[in-house]
């Protein structure tokens, strides 16, 4: 049987992925949800931006997520993969089913609340700093 080369599906080893690109500045993350080739760096060439995710809650205690569902659907149809955080966000938004990671994280948070770091004063040298991250 003669098989023509054009009839075979062509695979590229470098796939496209929808993932979070960190922008913003130090201690203030802001993510762009982008479609990129897997091998490209986070700050490298981007095929298309399909949304944004603000990881810092605003004064109403909301985290804002913008998603271009039309374009995400298109890229998924073209075989793009999703990174875990993006898949979690899509699950939270109702576009996809709930991601197992979200469910596990929720369960862990309910089991024990996230540990608070207590910084003790060093006697005679320095009082505790206000910044809880240090």
């Amino acid at each position: 049987m003669i098989i023509m080369a054009s009839a075979l599906p062509t695979f590229t080893k470098i796939g496209k992925v929808i993932r979070l690109n960190r922008h913003g500045c130090t201690n203030r993350p802001f993510y762009h949800i982008v479609v990129q080739k897997t091998k490209d760096n986070q700050d490298g060439p981007v095929i298309e931006q399909v949304g944004s995710f603000d990881a810092m809650p605003n004064n109403k205690n909301e985290k804002l997520v913008a998603l271009n569902f039309e374009r995400i659907q298109y890229w998924l149809s073209q075989g793009a993969k999703l990174s875990d955080p993006v898949a979690q966000l899509l699950g939270l938004s109702g576009f996809l089913p709930n991601h197992p990671r979200t469910i596990i994280q929720a369960w862990k948070n309910r089991r024990e609340p996230p540990r608070e770091r207590k910084i003790e004063a060093i006697k005679g040298i320095a009082p505790p700093l206000d910044n809880p991250k240090l």
Binding site: G51, P57, N61, E62, K63, L64, V65, A66, L67, N68, F69, E70, R71, L89, L92, S93, G94, N98, T102, I103, Q105, A106, W107, N109, R110
Partner: protein
Amino acid sequence: MATRAVMFTIGKFRCFPILKNRVAKFTSSSNLLNTSTFDPGYTRDPSEVFFKENVQALLDRLTGRDYEKVFQNRKLGQRLEPPKYELLTQAEVDQVMVEMEVKLKKKLQMPPLLKEREPVTKILSKDAELQGFDNCKYVFIDISQGINDRKREVVVRDPNGVLRDASWEERQKMCQIYFPLPGRQISMPKMFEETHLQDCLDQGQYQFVLDRACAQFEPDDPDYIRVTRKTYNCIDENNKFSTLRSTRHFGPMVLHLVLCKRMDNLLFHFITSKEVKAAADLVRLFHLVWSDSSPSELDEFQLIENYIQGPAVKKPALELAWQTFLEIEKQRLEALSQQNKASN
């Protein structure tokens, strides 16, 4: 504006010297109208009435067409340009007038009177397994192109795992963040809070308040309805109807007053400024709104008299004004006929 030719003259009657003492009587009788209190609002859905063609036509006629006022250079923070003067033939002037008419219609498009919107209660999904995944809520907006803002999907995932449609306030905030409209702020400006709003209205800034409310809110927003009703009532109490004449807000104000049954101040204003056509239109509008039928009298004077005798609330002041107007009319006609005789 291409030319500055005088377009229309609103039929202003020339004041004869004999009539000056009559003008003083008008101003003293206006005190009769500011004493009583009316009920604050109405429960009827105004959109049933607002969108009818005959109502729209009447409101359009009542608004008036003062081209000078509509196309006035307003200080709204935009760059002002000096007027251009051009020399045109009559045909070109007519062409320009047609274009101006289209622009005028756009500027005088009335913001609709709607009833307050129902709060959003739709729940899309209840996922108890997601409780506690985060201690803040996630607000998702669909930023696909080409969707009307009112139909855009905005959903909220609460920390208790419930996925629901966003409330109207959340929805408007999100749409303004990602698809900003000019003149609109993300949160409500302080100007629309009660005390500050009262200050603005006391200064007489009615058109500014209404224009800004139009830019800031949707017409069925409870805040928009509160602000506009307060402004309309303030104008009615202070008899400042001429500030809104030939603006897009005059029509909705008139309809609001008719629905509240407090149009008598406005009728008084029309009679004292001798605008019989406008007064008759107002009475016709009253009949359309309250009895859903146009009255049978074709004569405008008869129409207004029947209203004053019948459904009017502030009868004494209106009767006085009407009688004074009829006397002036009679004297004017006599003077005119004497003039005609003298010239013949």
